[in-house]
Each structure stands twice: as structure tokens, then as C-alpha cells.
Amino acid sequence: MLLRHTTKEVKEREGLTINPAKTCQPIGAMYAALGIHGCLPHSHGSQGCCSYHRSTLTRHYKEPVMAATSSFTEGASVFGGQANLLTAIETIFSVYNPDIIAVHSTCLSETIGDDLQQITKKAKDDGKIPEGKHIIYASTPSFVGSHVTGYANMVAGIADQFAVSTGEKKNQINIIAGWMEPSDMREIKRLSTELGVKIVLFPDTSDVLDAPQTGKHEFYPKGGTTVEELKSIGDSTHSLALGCISAEPAAIALEKRCKVPFETLDMPIGISATDRFIMALSQAAGVTVPDEITADRGRLVDIIADMEQYFFGKKVALFGDPDQLIPLTEFLLDLNMKPVHIVSGTPGQRFEKRMKEILVRAPYANFKNGLGADMFLLHQWIKNEPVDLLIGNTYGKYIARDEDIPFIRYGFPIIDRIGHSYFPSVGYTGGMRLVEKILGALMDRQDRDALEEKFELVM
């Protein structure tokens, strides 16, 4: 057994996290910053942070992930990292010439009290930021929240530090992407185009972390929200934040700074959440929903109706990040499945509240988030009440193999399969992909386990 020491008996733990269902803030900030065109993320801390984050993102995307580090040594840790960051800024602009450096902090720099606002201001005052170039920052202490918090903080930083209110409204809507895949961002843009709505999507990692093989390494790939677009978000008529944890803080920052009204939506995963997204976007823009979108929706409903018997009553355990888990759980309920165990390492009352609303339809479900909500606990729950399907990131494969459960990779990180960055899981077409994956996993299992006389040709 791979996880041979995991016991069935659940004991309360206060000090020890085992097999976490989260990681730390800075990686989220790095991911968000990659969604700005011409931006080089910069990790203000020890070299290991940057190296680990780049490695994890690279394994997930199989793409170049460029980022720099302040390379703290013991001296910097004692005397402060200002000198390191100033050197880094000079080196980066000389060698890599980005349009923007997006600095995020780490547990180290936060513990010693480095003030990124002050240091970046000093860099500007000292003339270290070339004409037309930018430096932005976000405070992302690893000992608060999770990787999702870090993403939210950087996206809020982007909104707060770029948005300008000219006093003249632009006929466009901001869509603030929660932590989603490049494929999902591409799909959001496609849906908006189909609706005929002009949007600014930020951040946007499509054409950054799904770049084509051309024989040339584009250090700053074609994609990413541009500075010009980011400046304009203060003049947009509305903001739609896709995700109450990872996207809403940016919408709040923007409302505060430029008075752009916002609405927070669940990430459009599955039918109901996508319905709400399409309704909200079409209403905000005053457009009617075109037949193509309605037909896409119809196709998804059709598949579910055709295959309903295979979903019914199947127990599912899932783990991952809040803005995915909320609509995914809702979608499983729409499919007539039973989400019985749900775990997320990301803390937050907002998340708990929204999950409770969704789980009114599933009073039997075990749900825990924040401290102590780890994959060890999830595994123990599964041992106590077995499931038919496990959904989560790659680390789930250890539980899936030990317990012989069909497994669908979903979330972050997925480091042993491809597809997540190319095929969306948002929107109705994304829903079709999810349904295909769920059915594939369940029906492969039925085929594997069926007695010879019960082996079905037509399913």
C-alpha cells in the first residue's frame, strides 16, 4: 500500500498537517502575474521559494515559467531585503527587459517586515524603473491562507495598481478570472465574444502557459492582459468576479478605487453556475443570449439526460480549491450524484458559507476546510465511507490506487497528465468535458469489474 500508515480511526489533530490540500500564497501570486502580458513575476525571498514555485507550475503546464528571485542570504534576512530587491530590479531590467515586474513577498520577507510598497517606491524614486516600465507588488505571506489567497492578493494588486478612472466610462465589462486554467480563460473570452460583449479579462494566462512550439522561446509570450487593458478597467461599466475567494478581492479593490460596481459569481463550472454567469454577463451588457450558447447548453443537458442512470447515487469524494469545489459540488448534485466527502486546505468563512448553501441539497456530506482539512483526513473519511469516484489533483492518485477508486484529475497541481491547460472545464462545453471524464471513469470501472456474462456491449 502506498499510504499504508493511514488509519481508519479519525483522531483530532491540532499541530500536524498530513498530506495537505493546499500550498502557500506566493505560488498563486506567481501564477496570477504570468497572466499579465510582458510581466516577469519576482519572488522576494529565499531562492528556494522561486525554484519550488517555478518547478510546480512547470510540472503542471509543461511550459516555461519564468520568474526571478531576490536570493536572500542570511545577511539579507538579518538586515532586510531592500538591497537585494533593488539589485534584482536593476538586473532584471538590464537583462530581461520586462514591461512589468510583479513582486510578491514570502514568509521570510514578511517575518522580517520588508515593506514592498516602500521598496518599490524607492526603486521608482531612485530611477531604477525605466521610462514606460512598471513595478507592482502584492503582500503574500505564506503563513496566511493558501495558494488561492496569494492568487487573490496578486490579482487585487494588479487591479489596484493599474486601474485608472478617467471619468469617462468605457462600454466594456471586467471579468476577473478566479484561479482557472488558460483553457478556461480562453473559453470565457470565447463565450463573451459569442455573446457580443466587450470584456477585459484579467489575469489571462491563455497564450502564455499553453504556448505553441515554434522553435523559438518567447520569454514574454503573446498572451496576457496588457497594461493598456489593465489601465482601462477603472472605466469599465461593471466587474464580474468569478470566484468569491480568488477573484472577489480584486473586484472590491476596483470598486473602492474607481467605483466600478461588481457582482461576485461562482466560477462557471457545470450547468447552474454557467447559467448564472451567462445571465449576469448578458444582463450587465444588455445583450440577448445567442442561440449558439443555448444550443451548447442543450447539448450538455442532453448528454446528462441520456446517461442519467450512470450518475445516479454515485458517491464522490473531492478535494481542492474553494472556487472550483463550490460549483463542482453543485454540478455533481445536478448530475444526481452524491458528494459525500469534501476537503480543502484553504480557510475562509466565505467559502464555508457558500458550501453550506450548496450542501443544503446534500445534508449527508462531510465538509471541512482550513486547518486540519487535509488529504489524510479525506482518506480516513473514505475508509469509513467508501466512494465510487475521487476528484482532485494528482496527489489523489495515491488514495485512488490504495482504495481502488476511479479517479479524475481536477484542480492544481496536475503533474502526471496533460489536458487541463488545453481543454476547458468552464462553460457548457467545459461541462461536457467533465461529464465525459466522469462517465469514462465510472464506465471503465464497470467494464473492468463486470462478470463475463454481465459485460455490456452497449452502454
Binding site: 529565499s46 531562492q47 525554484s51 519564468m66 537583462v95 530581461y96 514568509c107 518567447e218
Partner: protein, 546 residues
């Protein structure tokens, strides 16, 4: 050593590599970029701070301590004291394979343990939570050992992981709890973490069990981490030759093996950088000589086995070693004969690790491929130039803070395995006891040696040399491949391996053949994009092309 004449003028290359840097940075990098001469071996600036912002391959002290050295031992519960990320990122990502003796035997490698430090722990101190975590780990698993690893904030807020460990060790009585001050900011790279790990393993593990294992030729394998099953292949060869492996540091190892390591009669070192301290300390305390070996490359494996047999000086062992080599080599040769016509004359670059960039050159030469440039990520001058430079290495502020254990001969257990005269006789036979010649002696004249290569430099090197294969790690993998050059990961082996020993060499040859001759590299340009002048073969990076 033959000279290789088709190389670009290395002096011009060096000038090119540093011209874009700010003056101070250029001056510094200039000392880390060296034109090799195996006869004179010029000095390489190594193990110095990385320039902030330059984009380095390097990681941190914690990665070297927990990730590299301690990670592979299966029956220690490794608790990372700090915010969640550090433990998460080191969770199974280094591919340290392990084979527990029984289905029930302890194996925590698949687990990730952390104190998941929160803001309140940073403000008010985290020792209480740490002790609670140790208690919970003990109650849940009753492991033989629990190791604690400090991450950056721990050192700054002053949590004493050593005192907490001792308190819990004394409390339990039957569980060895010990800590490592391996905060990420210590030193200048992973290397500091290796040293700290060596110190801790030596202090808290080695020498705790004096049971003498049966076997005539007993040794420890140092600096082998069983990535991709490398240690399994070496174990197979040892078994065939009648060599007894007492302990491995630390691939496929157990706490019990390491506690018993001082009963071996020889230490053989693979990764000099990460474990040479252990060899030195065991020599001083227990009288066990160490010898640098290399099981990467079929010829190197044969050579290393012969060295070991020579050390033990036993005719029967020598005969068995020769018999095994004679049996294994024809299979190796058959693969080389098949593949070499397709790899002969191709070029490689290796920028990785603290020893791999050296060892893997052997495998490339077996394929008729030339290493045109190489460098380490976190090595020291001795790994480049040889250990004879050790007395001349200046200890700077960053190294000074890494503890040097004061080791003396153990009053009871010190037992020199060879007398001075015997050692001298072995040295005369060409055996390098307690020594290492380094990478540069083996590299061709006018090849380039670059320490802690930056991202910019590596892309520029690819543009200039157009190598057929580039060896580095996951962060570099897809950057280089976007330029149309295959990248072989030498940390994770691209999830393949093993690459050690005779079987491993064959795996490597096949993998390299597959990579450099893969038809995909010819598919990059669409038919309507192929220019008449054949420019589709150019290697480009967007911002370095002149």
C-alpha cells in the same frame, strides 16, 4: 586528451555572455565562466551568492537538507516546521524510490508532514505547535525516528527546534527525535543544506547500533539517492559481486542501516558535493577510508568495481568483479553498437547539480558525444578543480555560518581499516583514497565551464553552440525544448531511469538516442513556414537573439 577544434572561440563566448549585464554583475559573472584546460585547470568562482534577479537554477538550503539528503530514508517521519509550502513542494517530487522489506514495514515517503505554521505562530512562536505535531506523529505512527526541518521564518522568530526535539525524544524514550536548522536563507544554495544534513545524520544517527553485519566486503554507498531506481541497480551489481552494502546515504535506506553504517570497512562516494562531509567525518571518527566512485556510465561502473576490489585486495573478489563485468559488458556493448552510429559526433551541454554534470559526461562519451559546456548549480571549487584546491578556498560570510563539526577519533570505535602503509600502497596503485579530481580534468580543452549558469547565459549558449542535447532540470526543460533542442532532466530523469550501472547505461543510451533523433523536432515548422534558405533550423530565444 584530444583537443576538440570545432568549438567557437570560448573567450568570445564569455564576452558575449556577460555583455548585457550591469558592470558589477558582468565582473562577477566573468569569474564563474571559465575556459577549460585539463592540464592547468583554471580557478572557477563557485559557491558564491547568486545575483538577485538574474534567474538562477538554484534552490535553497532546506531543499538540500530535507529534499536531497534526508528525504530518501523511508522510515523517518520528516516534519517540516514552517508554513505549508515548503513541505508541499518537496512531497514526492524527487522520485526517491524505496522498497520496504515487507508490506507492513514502515514507509513514510508517500506522506507529507508539516506544522502548517500560521500567523499567530510567527508572532507568538511556533515551538508549542511543533511539539504538538511531534506528539501527534508519535501517537499516530510510533516511528523509530522523527526529524524536524526548519524553514525560513523558524530561524527568524527563534524557535529552538533542537531543544523541542530533545524534549520530545527524552519524553518518548523509544523514538529518536532530532532537528535541522536548515532555513532556506542559509548559505547560497542547496549546498548548505547538504552540509547541515550531513552534520545532523552524523550526530544523531550514525553509530547508534554496533551490530556487525555478516559479509566479507562491507561498504556504505554515499551520495546515492535512488532517483529512478539507481540504487536498485547498484544493489543488484553489489549482490552479484559479493559486496555487502551496510548502509546507503540515503537512497532506499532505513534508519537502521544508517545507525549501523560505522561498521562498514569502506565508504564509496557518488555525489561528492552532497555527502563528502560524511566521508570525512566517518574517516576521522571511525577510521573508515572513503573513495570516490562513479556508477554512472558502464565503463565507469566497471572501473569503480575494480577500485573497490583493489581496495579490499582480495583475489576472489577481484575475480568475481571481473566475471560480472565480463558478463554485463557484452549487453552494454550491443546497445552501444546499435545506437552509436546515430549519436556519434553530437554535442551535449550539462548544467545541473553538484556532481551529475560531471558523471553524465561519461555516458555521453560512451555514445561518442562531446560535452561542449558544463557547470554545476550548487557545487564548490573542489567539485570543479579537484580536492587539492581545498586548503586554498576562502571561507566567506555565507559559508562561515554553516557549522563544521569538530570530529575526533572515537575512543572505542575508532579502528583504522587500513594502515598508513596499506593506504600508501593503494595510492601507488592509482587508487584515489579520500580524494576527488573534479570535473574539469575530464573535460576537453577550450570547452566552457560555467558555475550557477543564469537563464540568460543558458539561452545564449544554446544559440551559439546549438547543442544536440541540453541537460538540466524541470525549470529549464520546456524553455530549451521551445528552442527546438531536447532537454534531458538529470534530477528526475524525465521520469525514467535507472541510469546507473550496466542496465542503467543501456537505458540512458536508448533515451538519448530517442531524444536527439526524435522526428518531432523536424515537425516544428509547418510546410508553409519553411523558408527556402532552411532557416527553420535556427535556434532562437526571443530576447537574446542579436
Amino acid at each position: 586528451m584530444q583537443s576538440y577544434n570545432n568549438l567557437p572561440d570560448p573567450a568570445l563566448v564569455r564576452e558575449d555572455l556577460i555583455q548585457k549585464y550591469p558592470t558589477k554583475v558582468a565582473k562577477k559573472r566573468n569569474k564563474s565562466i571559465v575556459i577549460n584546460d585539463p592540464e592547468t585547470i583554471p580557478e572557477v568562482q563557485a559557491n558564491v551568492r547568486t545575483v538577485p534577479g538574474i534567474i538562477t537554477q538554484r534552490g535553497c538550503c532546506y531543499a538540500g537538507c530535507k529534499g536531497v539528503v534526508l528525504g530518501p530514508t523511508r522510515d523517518i517521519v520528516n516534519i517540516v516546521h514552517g508554513p505549508i509550502g515548503c513541505s508541499f513542494y518537496a512531497w514526492l517530487t524527487r522520485r526517491n524510490q524505496t522498497r520496504p522489506e515487507t508490506p507492513e514495514a514502515e514507509n513514510y515517503i508517500t506522506y507529507c508532514f508539516s506544522t502548517d505554521m500560521q500567523e499567530e505562530n510567527v508572532v507568538f512562536g511556533g515551538e508549542k505547535k511543533l511539539k504538538q505535531a511531534i506528539q501527534e506523529a508519535y501517537d499516530l505512527f510510533h516511528p523509530k525516528s522523527i526529524a524536524i526541518f526548519s524553514t525560513c521564518p523558524v530561524g527568524l522568530i527563534g524557535d529552538d527546534v533542537h531543544a523541542a526535539s530533545k524534549e520530545m525524544r527524552d519524553k518518548f524514550g523509544d523514538c529518536n527525535v532530532f532537528g535541522f536548522s536548515c532555513e532556506g536563507y542559509r548559505g547560497v544554495s542547496q549546498s548548505a543544506g547538504h552540509h547541515i544534513a550531513n552534520n545532523g545524520v552524523f550526530k544523531h544517527m550514525v553509530g547508534r547500533n554496533n551490530t556487525v553485519k555478516e559479509g566479507k566486503f562491507k561498504l556504505n554507498l554515499l551520495g546515492e539517492y535512488n532517483i529512478g531506481g539507481d540504487a536498485f541497480e547498484i544493489e543488484r551489481i553489489f549482490e552479484r559481486t559479493g559486496i555487502t552494502l551496510v548502509a546507503s546515504f540515503s537512497g532506499n535506506s532505513t534508519v537502521g542501516q544508517i545507525e549501523n553504517a560505522h561498521t562498514a570497512d569502506l565508504n564509496v562516494i557518488l555525489c561528492h558535493r552532497s555527502i563528502n562531509y560524511m566521508g570525512e567525518m566517518m574517516e576521522t571518527k571511525y577510521g573508515i577510508p572513503w573513495m570516490k566512485v562513479n556508477f554512472v556510465g558502464a565503463e565507469s561502473t566497471a572501473k569503480s568495481l575494480r577500485k573497490i576490489a583493489e581496495y579490499f585486495g582480495d583475489e576472489e573478489l577481484k575475480a568475481r568483479v571481473e566475471a560480472v563485468i565480463a558478463e554485463e559488458m557484452p549487453k552494454v556493448k550491443a546497445v552501444i553498437d546499435e545506437i552509436r552510429p546515430r549519436t556519434e559526433g553530437k554535442t551535449a551541454m550539462l548544467f545541473v547539480g553538484g556532481s551529475r554534470a560531471h558523471h553524465y559526461q561519461d555516458l555521453f562519451s560512451e555514445l561518442g558525444m562531446t560535452t561542449v559546456a558544463a557547470g554545476y548549480e550548487f557545487a564548490h571549487r573542489d567539485d570543479y578543480e579537484g580536492r587539492h584546491v581545498l586548503p586554498g578556498i576562502k571561507i566567506d560570510a555565507d559559508s562561515k555560518n554553516i557549522e563544521e563539526l569538530k570530529v575526533t577519533a572515537d575512543p572505542e570505535l575508532y579502528n583504522p581499516r587500513k594502515s598508513e602503509a596499506e593506504l600508501d600502497a593503494l595510492k601507488e596503485k592509482g587508487l584515489e583514497i579520500n580524494g576527488y579530481e573534479g570535473m574539469m580534468k575530464q573535460m576537453l580543452k577550450k570547452t566552457l565551464v560555467v558555475d550557477d549558469v543564469s537563464h540568460y547565459e543558458s539561452e545564449r549558449l544554446i544559440e551559439i553552440y546549438k547543442p544536440d542535447i541540453f541537460c538540466a532540470g524541470i525549470k529549464e526543460k520546456y524553455v530549451v525544448q521551445k528552442m527546438g533542442v531536447p532537454l534531458k532532466q538529470l534530477h528526475s530523469y524525465d521520469y525514467g531511469g535507472p541510469y546507473t550501472g550496466f542496465e542503467g547505461a543501456q537505458n540512458f543510451y536508448r533515451d538519448i538516442d530517442r531524444m536527439v533523433n526524435n522526428p518531432v523536432w523536424k515537425l516544428i515548422k509547418a510546410p508553409w513556414q519553411k523558408a527556402e534558405n532552411g532557416s527553420s533550423t535556427a535556434l532562437e530565444a526571443s530576447y537574446v537573439t542579436h
